[in-house]
């Protein structure tokens, strides 16, 4: 479904350039969920944005990307934009504060010249577990979890095949996180969606995905199945350290931490 070969992303020019992603390759089958994990600055979100085709104006992107047997050119086609949608981390920043939920949800439908917009809006809200009364509210009138549901509904409205999830639950309380993760799992089952999930939380990735890549300083350190992650059978010291760290506070383990630069 998604095939990325030798992706490189460089921001800026000359002395001020920053090589954010170095030679990243990954493959995601149809109906799979693929995780990208790493610490801040590792380039995981940049990979997602490069795939979505929203970096061309601000960075130099090179490498081959194929999505659904279509080689992606610098300018993405209208159909690509309909079939690939994105959900962002911060539901406070990603919804227009002066647009009602109805406006937010109908905009992508209008852009893609879809018919029966009103029905689609109501249906999308239903799919994410919100009733039609939410249509005419503003983002500040609903909770963080509800806002993230609206973001998911906005992604669903164009009938996508692939959803790119950038830390979709890291701004939410754990009880709300559980609800949103359950929602994402159900939508994936019902619509046969393919996900790429970017997260710093290994447990979330282990719960949602079948396989994952660990990134560090712009490169993929290791790609493995979630099964291998659970069995701690990783061979790379960086992955092992990340795994140890995500198990909680352990005074003796911390002294053994290394700097990976």
């Amino acid at each position: 479904m998604i095939n990325i070969e030798g992706l490189d992303v460089v921001f800026g020019h000359g002395k001020n350039s920053f090589h954010a992603v170095r030679d990243v390759s990954l493959r995601v089958e149809k109906g799979q969920s693929f995780g990208l994990v790493g610490e801040s600055g590792s380039g995981k979100t940049t990979v997602l944005r490069a795939l979505a085709g929203i970096l061309e104006r601000v960075a130099r992107v090179s490498g081959d990307m194929t999505v659904a047997e279509e080689t992606q050119l610098r300018h993405r086609s209208q159909s690509f934009r309909r079939r690939v949608q994105m959900v962002f981390q911060d539901p406070f920043g990603s919804l227009h504060p002066r647009h009602t939920v109805d406006t937010i949800l109908s905009e992508p439908a209008r852009v893609h010249k879809l018919d029966r917009i009103e029905q689609r809006v109501v249906h999308a809200l239903e799919e994410v577990g919100l009733d039609a009364s939410f249509r005419f509210r503003y983002p500040h009138q609903i909770s963080g979890g509800q806002r993230q549901r609206v973001s998911v509904a906005r992604a669903l409205i164009t009938g996508p095949e692939i959803i790119l999830l950038d830390e979709p639950t890291s701004a939410l309380d754990v009880s709300v996180q559980a609800e949103v993760l359950n929602l994402l799992m159900r939508l994936k089952r019902e619509h046969g969606l393919t996900y790429i999930l970017v997260s710093h939380n290994l447990a979330v990735v282990a719960h949602m995905c079948e396989s994952l890549s660990v990134m560090q300083n712009g490169s993929v350190v290791e790609t493995m199945s979630v099964q291998q992650l659970r069995e701690h059978s990783s061979t790379m010291p960086y992955t092992q350290q990340l795994l140890t760290a995500s198990l909680g506070y352990d005074r003796t383990a911390i002294d053994a931490f290394e700097e990976f630069a």
Binding site: E39, Q177, A203, A206, H207, L243, I254, F257
Partner: protein, 285 residues
């Protein structure tokens, strides 16, 4: 018995008068703090940060703090003068905030900020203060204290910024540290390294720590004892090691709804909130 206790909080209330009515941010929280690491865990809006701020008299304007007792080493904090409070803040009880980006002064060098914290509470010469500052920076595992002393907050990383904040809060040698989500903005490995620094200093100096966080796993592995807060009340209190055996349905719900690294769940159990949690009295002590 109360002599060995650093802090006693009895029936603490924080209320805000808003245009839409009275908001009870904290309603009837009681606990005691000894020389230990006490964790306060809860979701957003549970009143955990408000509890920490009320202890230091940092409740925002419009808020009212009331309690049957709020005492720090025998000093009543409720009717203490502003002068006494200024001595206690930093000197007796200090607070580490969440994000060093917003809590350090952007136009002062790191060194002079740490030094200022010391000079306000202790009478020492500038030269001694500078030596103590270097020493403190070394203690929080900063490798080149002389260089970092001269930097400005925007020139250091998040992890280093938080270590600087710890250094600043530790240098007047307080008895209690209140840490409000001190490492939530940091990457996991850096988070643990910063906590290790804090942990070692607390053990060496025999201080008490109130650690406020939303991260259940972190609190359970880092603290000795945990208070679980829900809607301004403490619904349960348990030893950190026994969190898995917690009784209250809210605590159980929180523990269960976390995705697990070892997997095995198709669907995460969702927390069902019971209105009776709002009315039943808080945890027994």
């Amino acid at each position: 018995m109360s002599d060995s206790k650093l802090l006693i909080v009895e029936d603490l209330h924080v209320t805000y008068n808003t245009p839409t009515g009275l908001v009870r941010a904290v309603s009837g929280v009681s606990f005691e703090l000894g020389h230990e690491k006490l964790g306060i865990v809860g979701e957003s809006g549970s009143g955990k940060s408000q509890t920490g701020r009320a202890i230091l008299g940092l409740t925002a304007t419009g808020g009212t703090v009331g309690a049957r007792r709020l005492a720090f080493k025998g000093t009543n904090l409720l009717n203490a003068s502003e002068r006494t409070m200024r001595q206690i803040r930093g000197g007796g009880i200090s607070m580490i905030m969440q994000d060093p980006k917003y809590s350090l002064n952007p136009v002062m060098t790191v060194g002079s900020q740490i030094e200022e914290a010391l000079l306000i509470h202790n009478r020492t010469s500038k030269r001694v203060a500078r030596e103590r500052t270097y020493e403190m920076l070394r203690a929080v595992k900063i490798r080149e204290p002389e260089r970092v002393y001269k930097t400005y907050p925007h020139e250091v990383s998040g992890g280093m910024g938080q270590r600087i904040m710890i250094a600043m809060m530790m240098i007047p040698e307080p008895d209690i540290i209140i840490a409000d989500e001190p490492t939530s903005a940091l990457d996991v490995t850096v988070q643990l390294q910063v906590l290790a620094v804090l942990d070692d200093m607390i053990n060496e100096r025999g201080m008490g720590l109130i650690f406020i966080s939303h991260d259940l796993n972190l609190i359970a592995s880092f603290c000795d004892r945990i208070l679980i807060m829900y809607d301004g009340r403490v619904v349960e209190e348990c030893n950190a090691a026994e969190l898995e055996q917690a009784q209250h349905p809210y605590t159980r719900g929180l523990v269960n709804c976390l995705p697990r690294l070892d997997g095995g769940q198709d669907e995460l159990p969702v927390l069902k909130r019971d209105p009776s949690w709002l009315t039943t009295p808080g945890a027994t002590r």
